[in-house]
């Protein structure tokens, strides 16, 4: 069973520290700005390979965040310079790219990786190079303790907390008897393990786990495995097969379907009005951040949406067919703002202060909703190097995602699995 973090008092103490942190930057900016040389941030970008759609939008968000931060005086008065290198969404190249950042481009830090296998492949290099490495991956790798003290995920929540936070909504509103359909590789297995435990904690159960081999192109033969008494289908089909999956699911069930809940990861950068997706009408999705501008959107979110060049439907302002990866890319924006806060708090001057930067960010806790955190407030756990935040559940109505529920941050907590602060540098 998943347990929530018990020591809320620590969080309250953290809140005080967070306030202190927020107050410090201006003072230190002027006190110690000795150099106006740019702070070089190596951006490990998935420009090619399976992550290219994400990489493109991570790039745009990064650019927008840097423009904003530099426009407001940079970090400690120094502008940010992004050094982007394509990792081909490949773990071997990922590690090489980190070496390039540290040893060739003389970057201060590295940032921006999404795909988990690239994070795993690159993190050892970050540890050996003693290069602060900020991933924007939503993987559970950081918080699981598998990586090292130099790797952090302060700008996006991890899959374990996202999945765990869905269970209360699913069991209360959709049903307690769930059948899960997921790809038969690590990402799917994370969903299988974390959601099964979370729904059982809510008094529900998973009737059937249907793992789809990654090479599958047609899904019809798997659907008869869905038990009749299923109340909710939980799906997380990532990859180009998703359109076929939805179409075939529609053909299988027809009009009398169970409730359907999915993760938007399957449909990031995909237009919700694409032919074949009609069957998703009335179904629910997890979203990291609502793709469609909601009536309730905050001023911070509105400003962020404009800054990254995304319209009210989540597509590019210059091309309505170019749909963003809105549920994830805010992570780049928020991570860069956290790096700025950390560097200013640590009075970061250069690579010799990399350790101080890690320690500064480890000491952070509460991050209120703000221009720096437009997705919502966050609670950063310095021990596990992982941030926690609100999760959103949207319903498809008229081929648009309409916000149905926002979880609390506390819904996303689970027991610590590691204390990186006890590890040596």
């Amino acid at each position: 069973m998943l347990k929530k973090i018990t020591d809320r008092r620590t969080l309250l103490k953290g809140a005080a520290a967070g306030g202190l942190l927020a107050a410090t930057p201006l003072a230190s900016r002027f006190a110690s700005a000795q150099s106006d040389a740019p702070i070089k941030i190596g951006f490990q970008q998935h420009s090619t390979g399976i992550g290219a759609a994400y990489g493109r939008w991570y790039g745009r968000t990064t650019e927008a965040a840097v423009k904003k931060i530099n426009g407001e005086g940079g970090i400690n008065g120094r502008p940010i310079e992004i050094v982007a290198e394509d990792d081909g969404t490949d773990p071997k190249r990922g590690a090489e790219v980190l070496e390039k950042f540290a040893n060739q481009h003389s970057c201060d830090i590295a940032f921006g990786t999404l795909f988990s296998h690239v994070v795993y492949g690159s993190a050892p290099a970050a540890g050996e190079l003693k290069l602060p490495y900020f991933v924007v991956s939503e993987g559970h790798h950081v918080a699981s303790g598998a990586l090292n003290r130099w790797t952090m995920q302060p700008g996006i929540t991890d899959v374990k907390s996202q999945v765990a936070a869905m269970a209360p909504f699913v069991s209360k509103n959709l049903g307690k008897k769930v059948t899960m359909i997921f790809p038969d590789f690590a990402f799917g297995h994370d969903h299988r393990d974390f959601f099964t435990a979370a729904i059982e904690a809510q008094g529900g159960e998973v009737l059937e786990h249907i793992a789809i081999p990654p090479t599958e192109t047609s899904f019809t033969k798997y659907f008869p495995k869905i038990p009749r008494q299923t109340e909710v289908i939980y799906h997380v089909m990532v990859g180009p097969g998703v359109l076929t999956f939805v179409k075939e699911l529609g053909e299988f069930f027809g009009p009398s379907r169970p409730e359907i809940f999915g993760f938007i990861d399957s449909l990031e950068a995909v237009d919700m009005s694409s032919p074949g997706l009609e069957y998703l009408e009335g179904t629910y999705f997890w979203e990291g951040m609502p793709r469609y501008a909601q009536a309730s959107q905050s001023a911070h979110e509105k400003a962020y949406r404009t800054a990254v060049g995304v319209d009210d439907n989540g597509a590019s302002l210059s091309d309505s067919k170019d749909v963003s990866t809105y549920a994830h890319m805010f992570g780049c924006w928020e991570t860069l703002h956290t790096i700025k806060a950390g560097m200013e708090y640590a009075d970061y001057q250069g690579p010799q202060d990399r350790q101080k930067l890690i320690e500064a960010i480890e000491s952070m806790s509460i991050m209120p909703e703000s221009a720096a955190h437009p997705q919502g407030a966050k609670v950063f756990n310095g021990r596990t190097h992982q941030t926690f935040g609100h999760q959103y559940i949207s319903k498809v109505e008229n081929s648009k995602l309409v916000l149905a529920h926002a979880t609390s941050i506390a819904d996303t907590f689970y027991e610590d699995e590691v204390d990186y602060t006890k590890m040596s540098f």
Binding site: E99, H117, P124, A125, F185, A186, F187, P213
Partner: protein
Amino acid sequence: MSAAQKSLALHLGLIGGLFALAFILPTYHHGNFARIMVLATYAIGYNVLFGYTGLLSLGHAMFFAAGMYGMGLAMQYGGVPALPALFLGIIAATILAAVVAVLALRTIGVAFMIVTLMFAQTGFLTILYFGEWTRGDEGFVLQQKVRQIAGLDLSDPMTRYLAAWVLFSVALLATARMMHVAFGGVLVAIRENEERTRMLGYNVFAHKFAAVVISGAIAGAAGAAYGLLFGYVGATFASVQYSIFPLLWVLLGGAGTTIGPFIGALFMFYLIDYSSGLTSAYMLIAGVALVLLTLFARAGIAGEIKRRWAPWLP
């Protein structure tokens, strides 16, 4: 100077040069060369089968991954120290190569390519299937503290470079020696004319079998070393592109030459490294370079040097 002496001088010169570079290269290139030497070892293994025996495998990633996972799983779950784990990785790849050899050598030519490709795909999917232990596509990290041999920290750049250098040197000298003795001659004879070799009384199957096993073992050693030196074990290394890479390196560098695999791996690494700084379409640049080489230097870089200027090149 006889051809044999020239050949020895070339190999020792290359090995000596790489040793000297350990103390000269700037940090970034120092790290790159450590990687390149391990990848070149992989290519040396591939060259034994493709370059010398004339068997084109499209599935060598399975041997590389068998070595990597044999080593990695033993360390991760068995708590085996690094050096024995390295040998376990090599043993795993050797056994796999023997099994694949028995089955795949029943075919020749295009069928051999397809059968090896299918075996490799099976290997890749098997790794994903046992995701609970292999962590499948995500892979797993080998922590710095366990990556030590006799107190030497393999994550230290200099130690890592020298470890990669030892691996590369052993593989280079062993294959150079192999091609110098009768066994290597028979492999080349099989490549040139299998029927005639059989007619001359050589056991062609036994030689081909040995070639697959030696090739697989060297590829496995490279895979195990790569995982150990760089701290990551993952299914990506079993995917089809990692079967294609050694073929490209060997073709570029010169199939059937001892130093070709190193030249190919070096050339390709820096081609991608530099061109990716210029454009995101760097694979296009790599592709154009390959087409040009195929048009104007069909035997690869070392092969072309051998043809034009240095016929003694081993």
